[in-house]
Amino acid sequence: MSGAAATLAPAATRTGVPAIELIGLNKWFGHFHVLKDIDLQVAEGEKVVVCGPSGSGKSTMIRCVNQLEQQQEGRVVIHGRAFGESAQKDEEIRRDIGMVFQQFNLFPHMTVLENCTFALTWVKHLPKAEAEAIAMSLLERVHIPEQAKKYPLQLSGGQQQRVAIARALCMRPRIMLFDEPTSALDPEMINEVLEVMVELAESGMTMMVVTHEMGFARKVADRVIFMDQGEIVEGAPPEVFFANPRYDRTRLFLSQIL
C-alpha cells in the first residue's frame, strides 16, 4: 500500500480486511458457464488490472463485484460485509463502490453538474448548495469544471468519461470499478481519461480496472490478472507478468495486443 492511501482512507477502515473478496464465484448465462470458480482478494488500496480476450468473463466478474450481475454460486464480500443479506444492506454496501462504464452511461437529460449532484441529493439527501460544492470540487479534480452547465451529449467522449468518473467519486466510494473505460473512446482522448485514473490511483483508492491499456497497467497496477474462458489463469505484479508470464495462453494474448 502506498503512503498516499493513508491520507485518503479513514484510519478505522484499514483493518487488514480485504476490500474485495470473491469466493468460489460461479455464474451461467443460460447454459453458458461464464465464470468458473473465481477466487480473488483485493486488498484495501490495491490496484488490480484485469485483462483477457473478449468473452473471457472479465466484465461479468467486475459487474459481480457491485452485484450488477448476480452469481449463482459463491459469495462477494466487500470490506468484510457479504452481499445478499437484505436488499437494504446490499444498497448500503453498494454505496461504497463507484463504477465507470465503457459507454459512460451519463444521464442525457441532466446537465453535467446535475449528473454529479443527482445521487447526493436523492440518496444522501444533501442540501443543493452542499451537493453542488462537492460536485464542482470533483469536476475540478477531473479537469472540466467549465463544462458543468452543459449536457453530456455536447461533450467529447473523453470529457464524458471524466464526468462519469466525477459522478462516481461524488458518493465518496472506497472502491472504484472501471469496466473498459477507454474502449469506446477515439484514440486521441484515451490519455486524458487515463491521466485522471492515474491521479486517482496515486490518491490511494482501491481500484479494479478491466482494460487493454497495458501502459496504464505497467504504470499503476499492483497486480495484473489474466482471464480466459471464465477462469483467472494467472495474476502477478506487472513487472513479473509482462516479463515472464507462466502460461502459453497468456503469452499468446500479450503477443497479440502489445
Binding site: L68, G98, N105, F107, P108, H109, V123, A164, M171
Partner: protein, 453 residues
Amino acid sequence: MPDEARLAAADQPLVFRPKPERPPPTSSIGVLGWMRANLFSSVSNALLTLLGAYIAIVFFTAIINWALVDAVWEASNRRECLDRVGRAGACWPGVIAWIPNLLYGLYPKDQVWRINIAFLILVAWALPLWLPRVRSKVGIGLSAVLLYPFLASYFFHGGAKDLLWTALIALGMAAFAWVWLTTLSERTTGLPFGAVVARLTGAPEDDEAATRTRARIAYAVLYLVAVGVTTQWSLSEVSTRYWGGLFLTLVISGFGITFSLPAGVMLALGRRSQMPFISLCSTAFIELFRSVPLITILFMFNTMLPLFLPVGVEVNRLVRAIVAVCLFAAAYMAEIVRGGLQAIPRGQYEAASAVGLGFWQSTALVIMPQALRIMIPTIVGNFIGLFKDTTLVSIIGLFDLLSMARAVGEDTTWLGLFLEPFFFITMIYFVFCFLMSQYSLNLERKLGAGQRR
C-alpha cells in the same frame, strides 16, 4: 523562390494552413434555391407541383365559396335558406341557433356560467406552470390533476354534499387558493407561501422546524376556511342526463387523458416486472382491453356492469362511460410507455443503481423522464385519438358533440341540416387536435434542448 525557401528549410516541417471557408453558391440557398430544389427539380416534378397547386386552388375556392361567399347568415328556418341560395351556399343560422346546445348540450341555460367558471378555474390553475420564477410546479401540476376534478365535479353537478364530498371540494378550493398564493409569493419573494407566512408571523429565518410548523398551521387554516366556505355554499343539482356537447366531450376525454398516462405507466412497469404475478395481471389486463373494440367495451360497461353490481348500488351512465374510456386508454398507453422503456439502454439502469438509487428512484428520475420524452409524439397522438374516440359514447345514449350536431338536422325548424353542423364540429375537432399536436411539437423542442449535438 518559394522552392528555394522550401529547400532551405528541408528539415523543418511544413506548416498546414486550412483553406478559408466560402459561402455556398446563391442558387442553393434562399427561397429560390429552396423552390428549385424542392418544387422544380425536374420536368416531372415541376408538372406535379403545378397539378397539385391547381387541385388545391379548385378545392379551397369551392369550400370558401360554399362556406363564406354564398352562405346565408340570417334566416329563421331552413326553407328560407334553400329558397335564397339552394344548396350552393351554407345555411349557418341553424348552426348559430344551436351553438349553446353544441357547446353545453341540454345543460340549463341559466346554469351554464358554472361550466364557464370551472373552465376558467382550470386555466388559472394551470397558468402558473408556464410562469417563470415559480418553483412549486410539480405541486401545482399534481394538485391540478388530483384535486381539480373534485372541485369541477361539484361545479358541474352541484346538489347536496355529504361529509366526504364537503371535505374533497374544500380540498380542491384550498389547493386552488394555495396555487395562486404560492405563485404570487414565489414570484415576489422567491419563497413558497408557507415560508412567507412563517416570516410574517415572526419565525426566525434559520429555524427550519419553526418555519415548517408555521407553514403547516397556515395550510390548516386555509383548509378550514375552505371547509367553512364549502358548507355555506351550494349549487342546484344538474343531472348528468343534461350534460352534452363539447362540454361532455371535454369531460370524458379530460378524464381519459389524465388517467391514462399514470395508469399506463404503472401497467407498463407491471408488465416488465420481475414478479410473475404482477407481470401476469398487467399483461392480461393490457391484452384484454387492447383486443376488444372501444364500442364493445362501452356496451359491456353500460349494460353488463349493473348486472354484476350488488342490488341498490347504481353507477351513473356517464361514470360508466368514463371508466370504460379510461381503462381502454390506459391499456393503449401502457404499450406506448413500454415501447419507450425499451428504447432506454440498459446502461442507464445500471448507472443509476451503481450510484446507489433504488428501483423507484431510478425509474422515476432517470428512466421515465427519458422514455416519456422519446414518446411525446406517440403519447400525444394517442391523446388525439382518444379525444376523437369519445364520439363513440353517443351510441350508449350520451349527447356528446357529434350527437348534438346530428340533432340539429332533426330539429323541425332546421330539418335536414346536416352538412353545416358537421362542418362546424369538424372545425372544433380540428382546432383542439391541432393545438394538441402543436403543443407536443413545442414540448419536444423545449425538452430536446441540449440533447442533440
